[in-house]
Symmetry: C2
């Protein structure tokens, strides 16, 4: 029953790739591309322009430039699920259209996130307008539910309505609610209809896969890609629970710090590149004390990022 | 002691001018300019691209076009305080720079509003970077404190630090917290230093003026401009409390409905122009029942919008 389209759907583990900035706070495409190659080598797909990519601190034109540079460098668009949901409808349309044109396997779409307490009808109209204006059967939208940050939830009835109206285009979700009951409800109600549920972190990866889900899109896959993608490939093996427990140890180590600065500090540490620690305001990099504590915490769990410094990957 | 710069500071009543869209959801510069003229004729300044302007549903390039069209049509930039605070640092810089170049009397600046729980240090760096990158002594920033929507507050210690670092440039605030104690604290601590406090609505207009504040920036000044600006001019007269009470009646009438759709419905009603009711997703226009209820509520308080339909104003 699987069609060509279904078999090419994005599955497994993706990460919202952290965006490198230089000391002048400019996005650095070269280092981003190198990082993406390292991630792909470990079977982790590229959810660039996610929350952990500081996507909403990056302008629309900067996103266009980065996306063009990544594709221009030969990164496979089929492994890419860029975040294209902006606050302004017309910017969501522009960025989504461009991602589809470049052949991206999907787009991860935030709801418009400035106005709060908006209705499901208003959100439906937003997604519906985007789909109709992009007007391309190749479009695959993954709805991005992250109420702790966006403050604008994507409800189950909204998913149901969108899926009914645009069954081929509404392709799945990333559930970053942190609420397992919600992910479970999505898996039960919508996964059987071909709506691919990605857990919002590896914390629920095994549980999601056991219920037929598609995988996870996780911040910590920026730093722990090999182990997380291994579980996604081998979750039917007897050591799956043990693997999950090991992932949880790494996740909880990073979760003690502000996540984005900590991910960048870890990459900076292992790559020996101090500029990797740079974040854009309103975020602030780890201070010396925090960074020392992170390094010690990583050492305590024997954490490493193999191959990150490999010149061959450049 | 007043310098030329101080005397030209924006004062009194401004409104976040609602942005007209056509049936294809495109911003309509012509109708916006006409509306701005009507507001100016009633002594209300133009805080275009505010929350009630649906600014964050409008793309950066659309804002550039609207701003250029307004200035091109001869609207006085000295009466304009466009919202230029975007989620992305580089977009805030671009839009602010353009507004200053056009001679705008000030800019109303949201903090970056996607990432939540950010530190005052991170917000300080955001505003500081913008000021340094724009690098123009004509820049006047009004900090936009609207935690119910942005979810990113601008704290009193942050204002203190910014004001100390950039005393000429940090010109004031719009306090849309809805918490009088906060407005009062701003008035007591910062107004004496030339930091102009605007109440976030006319609800606190009289109280703000009595404490030496600059005025108010209010959504309902879109529909009730004459009466609100009259209080700002005549607040020392004996009927001030009575005027304030009359303003409160109008405000509470509109506050029974979703504010932006209600403002647009009222303008649509009085101008006889059905397209004025159009809002962009994620907002939804008033349905027939709500609109009927609004019309009845306006009738019940003898509310009118004189001159709105005047062809002479076009």
């Amino acid at each position: 029953m699987a069609t060509a389209t279904e078999t090419t759907r994005i599955k497994g583990v993706l990460t919202p790739v952290v965006t490198p900035f230089d000391s002048e706070l400019r996005p650095d495409a070269k280092r981003l591309i190198r990082q993406c190659r390292w991630l792909l080598d470990q079977d982790v797909g590229l959810a660039v322009f996610g929350t952990n990519s500081e996507a909403n601190s990056i302008s629309l034109s900067e996103k266009f430039e980065l996306l063009d540079a990544m594709i221009g460098a030969g990164l496979p668009p089929a492994r890419m699920m860029p975040g294209t949901g902006c606050s302004a409808l017309t910017e969501s349309v522009e960025l989504t259209r461009h991602a589809v044109k470049l052949g991206c396997g999907g787009v991860l779409m935030l709801p418009p996130f400035y106005y709060k307490g908006v209705s499901d009808e208003g959100l439906y109209r937003n997604f519906s307008e985007i789909i109709q204006r992009v007007g391309d059967s190749r479009l695959r939208i993954y709805l991005y539910h992250i109420p702790p940050v966006s403050q604008v939830p994507i409800s189950l009835p909204l998913i149901e309505r969108l899926l009914k109206a645009y069954p081929g285009t509404i392709a799945g979700t990333k559930d970053s609610s942190g609420v397992w009951e919600n992910t479970k409800a999505m898996l039960e109600q919508f996964q059987p209809q071909g709506f691919d549920v990605f857990a919002g972190s590896e914390t629920f990866l095994l549980a999601t896969l056991r219920m037929g889900g598609a995988g996870c899109i996780s911040a910590t896959a920026n730093v722990n890609p090999a182990a997380i993608s291994r579980l996604a490939r081998t979750w039917k093996q007897p050591d799956a629970d043990k693997q999950q427990a090991a992932l949880d140890v790494v996740r909880s180590t990073f979760a003690k710090f502000p996540m984005i600065p900590a991910l960048k500090a870890a990459i900076s540490e292992f790559s020996g590149d101090p500029e990797w620690a740079v974040v854009r305001p309103p975020l602030v990099e780890l201070d010396a004390t925090q960074r020392k504590a992170l390094v010690e915490a990583m050492r305590a769990i024997d954490f490493s990022m193999e191959g990150l410094e490999e010149p061959a990957l450049q």
